[in-house]
């Protein structure tokens, strides 16, 4: 009778955020199975795209198609995924530099086993069958050959 009670408690914030014109177009492209980056003033292609040049702060508007293949620049193996992780089996968080891009984007790699993962490995997009215009329209990246 003197034991301490204990109960699960979930605190949730139902945010919705506006994405602006540049990420808005990027996400609209994902919905149609297309990945687009933005060319910066120094010629680099930024993915995800940015609205303003990271060095000169000028507005940017030169869109460049990239991917769907890419290279893993860095990664971390997640042996025990959490509830909200994109995959409910062991996977890797990875920085993926898409073909045609000069920056890397954080996403999940469904490698199956940590032994498959290595820096420099080729990956390609696995699209979600039903897409809504969200970064999760890319279900994850998967190992690719070539």
């Amino acid at each position: 009778m003197n034991e301490v009670l204990s109960a699960p408690h979930r605190l949730e914030y139902p945010y919705r955020r506006s994405v602006g014109p540049v990420l808005g177009r990027f996400l609209g492209g994902l919905r149609e199975g297309r990945i687009e980056g933005m060319r910066a003033r120094d010629g680099r292609v930024l993915v995800p795209p940015q609205e303003y040049d990271p060095i000169t702060a000028e507005p940017l508007d030169e869109w460049v198609a990239v991917g769907p293949g890419g290279v893993v620049v860095s990664w971390a193996w997640i042996a025990e995924p959490l509830l909200r992780h994109p995959l409910q089996r062991p996977f890797a968080w990875a920085l993926v530099r898409l073909d045609g891009a000069d920056t890397a984007m954080l996403h999940a790699v469904d490698g199956g086993d940590a032994g498959v993962m290595r820096t420099g490995m080729r990956v390609t997009v696995r699209w979600r069958p039903e897409r809504v215009g969200d970064i999760h329209d890319i279900e994850c990246f998967v190992p690719a050959t070539g």
Binding site: N2, S6, P8, L11, Y13, P14, L27, R31, E32, D134
Partner: protein, 153 residues
Amino acid sequence: MSGDPVRSIRTPIALEYRYTPGLASSRFLRAVAEGRLIGQRCPVCRKVYIPTRGSCPTDGVPTEEEVELPDRGTVTTFCVVNVPFAGHAIEMPYVAASIQLDGADIAFQHLLQEIAADQVRIGMRVQAVWKPPDEWGPSLENIRHFRPLTEPS
């Protein structure tokens, strides 16, 4: 070109806790599960606290003497809520009131219903409306709400 640009995205975040109320509040909640309201009296200032926290915030001493309180009390302050928020089922407007039970020296917040929001007054006498006993658990939600009390003055 792309299709229609996306204007906004849903980005909910959630924090998963395991909440433990501690020893004193566990005793309080177990009593609530039986339909009883238990306060604790400070041995120094003699104030009665409910819900119980196990110590007096003024004197810093353990509060061990238990006091059973009635389920009626007085509105000490209140707020009329007109803005709904996600996941909320109560009809607008509703009144969240601070209610000080008879014999207690501190108020706690609960829902005040069965009265129009513009009729609520500080000092109003109120009484708990309990859920049916078979729905009781270790939670103040056993009290569905408080309602105005009519009693001989």
